[in-house]
């Protein structure tokens, strides 16, 4: 057997215990063999480093960013919101249809039942959305102090409860004229809350974001149709768009560099970004984006 092959077998731990002992005795008595084994040990370590460099270079080619993965997570929220919207739309459609064929007393009974069902559907959708947030919180706080984790979880639950309440407000059929709900040209200022919700949700799903870094000190935004342009150095650090259910409406916020800014939907004029100062809103935002 060639010496090189024997060295390989020794270093790759392929020799029997007896052969290993014999070979180590040989090494001890032969300085040339000892230096050869040391060289081959360095070869294996260097191959390990080369493998690490290759693996790292492979990972660098994978496109990832906080913004993109953030959007993916936000999609879970959007998904839950979409389910709610579709459920609300379906039931409103059914209620509208039933109104035409039943008398008023029957209709009110049907509305009450459907309203309860809708609340249940919304609750399920909210649970899904909350679950997504809780999972994220759990995973991002594995090694962090437990006290902090507990606080976050309880805040999340509180926020979820508030949001459920908001959804409930938006589906208060006693105060809603179903005719207005199904009218496409209904004025937003007077339309019921669930109409606003549906429309803002549709807008967000079509929204695309551009960043204009030509003036890094300029921090402002502008909507052009379904396109949002952010002016400033937003490519230096990750930013996220967050939406928050608030009294039946979905408000849009920008999270950047540990600060939150409110964005007004459809603001056609280039507008300076305004920091969120409302404590309650800030707390809610920190819960969904800890």
């Amino acid at each position: 057997m060639e010496l090189q092959e024997k060295i390989d077998q020794y270093l790759l731990d392929q020799l029997s215990p007896a052969d290993k002992v014999k070979f180590e005795q040989l090494i001890a008595g032969d300085s040339q063999l000892k230096s050869e084994v040391a060289l081959q040990q360095s070869v294996i370590a260097a191959l390990g480093n080369t493998s690490a460099v290759q693996l790292k270079s492979r990972l660098q080619k994978i496109p990832v960013s906080m913004a993109s993965t953030g959007n993916a997570l936000r999609l879970k929220w959007l998904g839950a919101a979409a389910i709610t919207t579709v459920a609300a739309g379906l039931i409103i459609f059914l209620l509208t249809g039933q109104e035409k064929t039943t008398d008023s007393s029957d209709s009110s009974t049907t509305q009450e039942v459907s309203s309860t069902e809708l609340k249940e559907t919304i609750a399920v959708a909210n649970e899904k959305a909350t679950a997504a947030t809780v999972t994220e919180n759990q995973s991002s706080t594995i090694v962090e102090e437990k006290a902090v984790e507990k606080k976050q979880k309880s805040s999340t639950s509180a926020s979820a409860a508030n949001e459920l309440k908001a959804f409930d407000n938006s589906t208060n059929f006693n105060d809603t004229e179903t005719g207005n709900v199904s009218t496409p040209n209904a004025d937003n200022s007077s339309a019921p809350a669930n109409t606003l919700y549906t429309e803002t949700n549709n807008k967000l799903s079509n929204l695309s974001v551009n960043v204009d870094t030509s003036n890094p000190k300029d921090k402002s935004y502008q909507f052009t149709g379904s396109k949002l342009t952010l002016f400033g150095d937003f490519n230096n650090k990750p930013y996220e768009l967050l939406e928050l259910n608030n009294k039946g409406q979905k408000n849009l916020f920008l999270s950047y560099n540990n600060e939150y800014f409110e964005l007004i939907w459809g603001q056609m004029k280039k507008t300076p970004l305004k920091k969120v100062s409302n404590k309650e809103t800030l707390e809610k935002l920190k819960v969904i984006n800890p």
């Binding site: 090189q4 390989d8 270093l11 790759l12 300085s31 040339q32 000892k34 230096s35 050869e36 040391a38 060289l39 360095s42 070869v43 294996i44 370590a45 260097a46 191959l47 390990g48 480093n49 080369t50 493998s51 690490a52 290759q54 693996l55 790292k56 492979r58 990972l59 660098q60 994978i62 990832v64 960013s65 906080m66 993965t69 953030g70 997570l73 994220e136 995973s139 991002s140 594995i142 090694v143 650090k237 990750p238």
Partner: protein, 180 residues
């Protein structure tokens, strides 16, 4: 794919398991570094190093996963980032990531000599030698991964590549350079 399946894949030398983990936990690990005064680029670098550590450790037959992979990566990232912050605070120059255990400088130098010679080999040779000496794959496994006809072809290729590497090392350095 559960954690144990991922570890099995890594042990088999399947890099796609690392790709999967990279994407899956990216947000969590980057947030950790961002919260501790790092940038996203620094976070990416640290997280990639943490995955390399997992890749290397998991290949050890004695490696046992005692927590979730995400928890393991989180701890590694945290340690690497602490080291990086210490290094920054000392204002010392960067020597890149040390993928091995801490070792004397002369040994590091020897390895770096060999690494330079490895970098001069062709891609196929580099890969065969990594598969054989570092990943400890069998000739049949190497033949399959490299698309060779059979284990004998892999053995011949590995032999030639190793000869080429030894020649490169020995024309530039004597074996005694590798002795303490």
């Amino acid at each position: 794919m559960n954690d144990q399946e991922i570890i099995e894949q890594i042990k088999r030398g399947d890099e796609s398991a690392i790709d999967f983990l990279y994407k899956k936990n990216y947000r969590m690990m980057v947030k950790l570094i961002l919260k501790n005064s790092g940038t996203e680029d620094e976070a990416k670098d640290i997280y990639q190093d943490a995955l390399v550590v997992l890749w290397q450790k998991a290949k050890n037959p004695e490696f046992v996963l005692s927590s979730k992979i995400s928890t393991y990566l989180y701890s590694v990232c945290l340690n690497l980032w602490r080291k990086e912050l210490e290094r920054k605070s000392r204002h010392s120059s960067s020597e890149g990531m040390d993928y091995g255990e801490s070792m004397p400088l002369d040994e590091k130098e020897r390895i770096s000599i060999v690494q330079k010679c490895i970098s001069e080999l062709g891609d196929a040779c580099k890969q065969i030698l990594i598969y054989y000496y570092y990943d400890k794959l069998s000739m049949a496994e190497i033949a399959e991964k490299m698309g060779f006809a059979n284990a004998d072809t892999a053995k011949t290729k590995k032999y030639k590549c190793k000869q080429e590497l030894d020649k490169k090392i020995k024309t530039q350095y004597t074996p005694s350079d590798f002795l303490d």
